[in-house]
Point group: C2
Chain length 190, copies 2
């Protein structure tokens, strides 16, 4: 019986690819086993449960996305940084819809590891770093974090769901104008 070389990390990685192909919700332990040409039960040595697998995929995605945000933000500030931040999220979601969906997968905290929490914290910090380019005290800064997160995530979700598909202007045209509007808003936040 040839060994394929399964491991928690490889399963999470392959699971992320599978999610992009068939959708995060359609990722199953069975489908992943099929992809490795292996019996389903074999995966349970590396993954505690289906939820555990999904949590691992979420962690892979959230971490990868934080890396990309950090890279895009290097050397930028103000409006420039805001656009870079927003674009990374949107581009990532379009390139990797399954992984993006995974990042928004809220599982029972029990299966979410510390890596997941750490990646989540990195995202918060990166958004706050962008906001340093604007002059906000508290609680305005927290409000602004929530506004940015909501608008960016909301737009991406609706666009991915096809809500903007059948009308003019294209989703890609509205996007920079909306981010610019947020920039203006942050600049004059009372």
């Amino acid at each position: 019986m040839a060994r394929v070389g399964l491991s928690g990390a490889r399963l999470a990685q392959a699971g992320a690819e599978l999610a992009d192909e068939v959708g995060f919700e359609q990722v199953t332990v069975s489908a992943l086993a099929r992809r490795f040409g292996v019996q389903v039960a074999s995966l349970y040595s590396h993954v505690r449960s289906s939820d555990d697998l999904k949590a691992r995929i979420a962690t892979v995605a959230l971490t990868e996305l934080a890396d990309q945000v950090a890279a895009a933000l290097a050397g930028r500030a103000g409006r420039d940084a805001l656009h870079a931040l927003a674009d990374v999220y949107r581009d990532y979601a379009r390139a990797h819809p399954g992984r993006y969906a995974a990042t928004r997968h809220t599982a029972a905290a029990s299966v979410l590891g510390e890596q997941y929490v750490a990646a989540g914290r990195r995202h918060s910090e990166l958004v706050r770093a962008v906001l340093r380019g604007y002059d906000l005290g508290e609680p305005a800064q927290t409000d602004a974090v929530r506004l940015l997160g909501s608008t960016i995530h909301g737009y991406i979700t609706l666009e991915l769901a096809g809500s903007f598909a059948h009308s003019e202007p294209s989703a890609g045209d509205s996007w920079p104008r909306i981010i610019d509007a947020l920039d203006t808003l942050l600049r004059s936040w009372s």
Copy 2:
């Protein structure tokens, strides 16, 4: 064999209630049959498939929500209308998380009926009605529809997921300030 009085409409209604109790993703034909004290197969006379059931629940929720928005908007304009619109969405999502999730459930267009499409159109029109209180041409108005939809939906999603739970200020305090910020933004949209 006593008849329980099943029908497509009753199943959709009961399914909506079930969704609020256990979460939209956890709604299954089996669970619904159990709730009616009836064999699973019996439901398939009234509902084409599990996806069909979910689409019906989505339609119930989307329609109900449009009714509430329309009622709340009556006699209001400008900032007042914007807050009313936003609050109805948020309050509905908090009161009926399962139904709200259902409204965001994008199924294969094949199972989504015309009622669903009609309810979706009503929502668009209601948002545009609110925007009539601001002075926007095209494409600014469409951008604004997308901005409002994204921010409101994004905020609700993140709040429901618990993203705002463990920090100050409370999610309920940020909300009106964010909506006010959007009002300011719309007023001065370039």
